[in-house]
């Protein structure tokens, strides 16, 4: 069965076509932003058309950054699901509209192909309440639906699964494994996972909270945005400053990324490297504390060179200094790409999905 995976980002639409469980895609492609000035649905239709050159598509899977508390697993797209996603747009205003548009475009051009939605937040829907709440007026939190999520759940879930699988091959653990999952993406994220349940994550109500990103600031004193706005900057400018002009690139004084700051010996990157590793250390410590210990570390994400350095850092620095070297199940590196994981997720849910789709109403 061919599976077509879409990652509808704001900057471009990525797609990959996989055959069954083959690790490498048959084709990959992307439509960059300037080409998407006409109807964005055309880009999706073109991708579907390209994929059909390699045979029938059994499933489409679309990455959805936000699914709120409503979506705890993958879902099959139908009109009700899309309506529920539409209601959540204010909670993820940049990404959800694009995802909805992508799903609708697939359903319009090939309505017979089931579309699976793979939610980044689904893995974190069950975070303990102590981890989700903010210490502000509960009424306000409820009204604005403020709570903490993680935004790399697809990677975290697969990485933890892989770590658990490897551990089980060595010995059957007596109790659920306590895994620190470090996702090395442009906005890095650390999650602490006990068994299959996350108990801690660095991100927040938006992805801005947590570790510093390529251009986003990460954790700040909450008074700083107000202070900056008082300097006549206004909320839009402050948001640009914190999301697009901060983070590792701001500390380096130029655009950079995790691969570069962790592998290139350049003194101008020292401040960014030191800050990132310090914040990572704090996050790992907090995650281990939330789990009451640590059995293993799982790495995932696009920054593979950085992952090699982080593995070394975990073993020689973090585990050695803070766990007396006792990291029982070591460090697992997830090799799979996110689109491959999404294809796996879609295939895993296919039996239920295909059973349900027979009864599903068509999307208007």
């Amino acid at each position: 069965m061919n599976i077509l995976a879409f990652d509808p980002g704001r900057v471009r639409l990525d797609y990959s076509l996989f055959r069954d469980a083959e690790r490498k895609p048959i084709i990959t492609g992307h439509v960059p932003e300037p080409d998407m000035t006409a109807d964005p649905a055309d880009a999706v239709a073109d991708a579907v058309g390209s994929a059909l050159n390699y045979g029938e598509i059994g499933l489409c899977v679309v990455r959805v950054v936000f699914g709120g508390e409503a979506f705890k697993t993958c879902a099959i797209a139908d009109w009700l699901v899309l309506e529920r996603l539409h209601e959540m747009i204010p909670q993820s205003p940049l990404h959800l509209p694009r995802a909805i548009e992508t799903v609708r475009a697939v359903m319009r051009c090939r309505p017979e192909i089931p579309v699976v939605l793979d939610f980044e937040t689904a893995f974190f829907a069950g975070l303990p309440e102590r981890e989700t709440v903010y210490a502000i007026d509960p009424g306000l939190s409820a009204a604005l639906r403020l709570r903490r999520y993680g935004y790399h759940g697809i990677y975290h879930r697969a990485a933890c699964h892989e770590a658990a699988h490897k551990a089980a091959n060595r010995e059957a653990p007596a109790s659920p494994l306590r895994i620190l999952s470090i996702c090395l993406e442009p906005k890095p994220e650390v999650a602490a996972v006990v068994g299959i349940r996350p108990v801690y994550v660095t991100s927040g109500s938006t992805p801005l909270e947590g570790l510093p990103g390529r251009t986003s600031c990460g954790d700040l004193d909450p008074s700083l945005p107000g202070l900056l706005m008082r300097r006549e900057l206004g909320p839009e400018r402050v948001d640009e400053l914190l999301t697009k002009e901060s983070g590792l690139s701001a500390l380096a004084g130029r655009m950079t990324d995790l691969d570069e700051i962790l592998t290139v010996d350049d003194p101008s990157l020292n401040a960014a490297r030191d800050y990132f590793l310090y914040r990572l250390l704090q996050a790992c410590g907090a995650g281990a504390a939330a789990m009451g210990g640590l059995d293993g570390v799982a790495l995932s994400g696009r920054y593979r060179k950085a992952a090699g350095q982080i593995r070394e850092w975990v073993v020689s620095s973090f585990a050695e200094r803070f766990l007396s070297g006792k990291l029982r199940y070591g460090v697992t590196m997830l090799e799979a790409s996110r689109d491959r994981i999404m294809a796996d997720d879609a295939m895993g849910t296919a039996p239920q999905i295909l059973a349900r789709i027979k009864d599903a109403a068509p999307v208007p």
Binding site: P90, P93, P207, S216, P235, D239
Partner: protein, 407 residues
């Protein structure tokens, strides 16, 4: 978000300039806007508006509905052109020629460049799939270059209420050179009518009143001197009475009230006129009947209200902040209205409908209402982006904390 909008703006620059060119090439004097209205309607269809509607006045309205009932933003530009003297133009007024980075032609600045930018700003938001909280209304109005703003009045009195839409703010696409303009002085035309049985008394009184009103330094409220021009003096005979009508134009400042100005004029005219003999004096705002291209007829009062939005009000502040965040210039200013007949519908929106308004458009006030009018093509594209940015700040769903390329 802004980088994404800029990329899309760059990609649609030729389209928006081409659309403005098509508008300029289509003559649309006041009350004859039908041709340009059809182009606007087609442009709105391409832009992806949810609802497109032509009202009984001939205004074309496009609505992009938001998720909630408000706040709603009205983007307003007029479709009609001011009268022109083709012999004074070096280029053909309807050539729509593009050269030296400029779109040349009648109304390029005032305000077909602004109208194109507003329609494409909505298209930009739609194509970028940026969700709206309130609704975005783009209205292309008729009969703005004539007194009375009857197109805008019809829009506000009948059309938008019928659509269930109440704007919280308005942005005019009039020429501001990409500045944020927040008001201008006004003008009114007054008819002073002197009647009497004795033609000599009426003639003497009319001459005296015209001399007095035309020469006196008029103190406007706020301590400034008000401009006053006697435009015409005409005589008529009816029902055994001699009648003289003096047509005058007077500049209005923001705090001035039309009724009080009329009282002041009447008091002065009466004092001068009665000293010359037995005459009666009436003073009123000049009115005329206007027939729109739809056949709808209405009476227009020759009052262009002075208006001013508080430069520190939320509309100005949010606009300034948003433009600045997008890296666009956000220079505040006011229209000078250096040529006769110039004005905007801001006074109608502010004074009659309590809708805070600003101007933001690509045109240049100095070249509007004159020969060889033009708009910079880069400015039209910039206004498209700027208007989209303003609209998103005012009625868009906030995107705070989200990045377009990190997640």
């Amino acid at each position: 978000m802004y980088r994404m909008l800029k990329a899309r703006r760059d990609a649609m620059k030729d389209d928006v300039v081409g659309f403005a060119q098509e508008l300029v090439r289509t003559p649309s004097p006041s009350f004859q806007e039908r041709g340009v209205a059809a182009i606007v309607e087609a442009g709105m269809k391409s832009a992806g508006f949810d609802n497109i509607f032509t009202d009984d006045a001939g205004n074309v309205i496009g609505v992009m509905y938001g998720r909630e009932n408000g706040p709603n933003l009205l983007l307003l530009s007029h479709m009609d052109s001011c009268p022109h003297d083709a012999s004074a133009w070096k280029r053909h007024p309807f050539s729509g020629e593009i050269s030296d980075g400029r779109l040349w032609g009648l109304s390029a600045s005032d305000c077909k460049g602004g109208l194109a930018a507003q329609i494409f700003a909505a298209a930009l938001l739609r194509r970028a799939i940026l969700p709206l909280q309130g609704s975005l209304i783009v209205a292309a109005t008729v009969a703005e270059e004539k007194w009375g703003s009857i197109g805008v009045r019809a829009l506000m009195q009948r059309t938008l209420p019928a659509l269930g839409l109440e704007p919280a703010y308005a942005v005019l696409g009039e020429p501001t050179g990409l500045g944020i303009y927040y008001g201008h002085d006004g003008w009114m035309e007054i008819d002073a009518c002197i009647r009497g049985a004795n033609p000599f008394h009426v003639g003497d009184a009319a001459e005296a009143v015209a001399r007095r009103l035309g020469s006196r330094p008029w103190a406007a409220e706020g301590g400034k001197s008000a401009e006053f021009h006697v435009q015409n003096l005409s005589y008529a005979q009816s029902e055994g009475l001699r009648r003289a009508t003096i047509r005058m134009a007077r500049r209005l400042s923001v705090p001035e009230n039309v009724a009080r100005v009329l009282e002041q004029v009447k008091s002065d005219a009466l004092e001068v006129a009665t000293s010359t003999g037995a005459v009666a004096v009436d003073v009123a705002v000049h009115e005329e009947s206007q027939m729109l291209y739809t056949g709808h007829t209405t009476v227009a009062r020759h009052v262009l209200s002075a208006w001013e939005t508080d430069p520190f009000c939320p509309l100005m502040e949010r606009t300034r902040h948003a433009l600045s965040a997008a890296g666009l210039e956000a220079k505040p200013g006011k229209w000078r209205l250096g040529k006769a007949g110039m004005g905007t519908a801001g006074g109608v929106l502010m004074r009659d409908f309590s809708v805070p308004a600003i101007g933001y458009g690509p045109g240049d006030e100095d070249v509007a209402h004159g020969p060889d009018e033009y708009a910079e093509t880069d400015a039209i594209a910039e206004a498209t982006l700027g208007t989209a940015v303003i609209a998103h700040a005012l009625v868009g769903v906030p995107v705070y904390g989200w990045t377009s390329d990190e997640i």
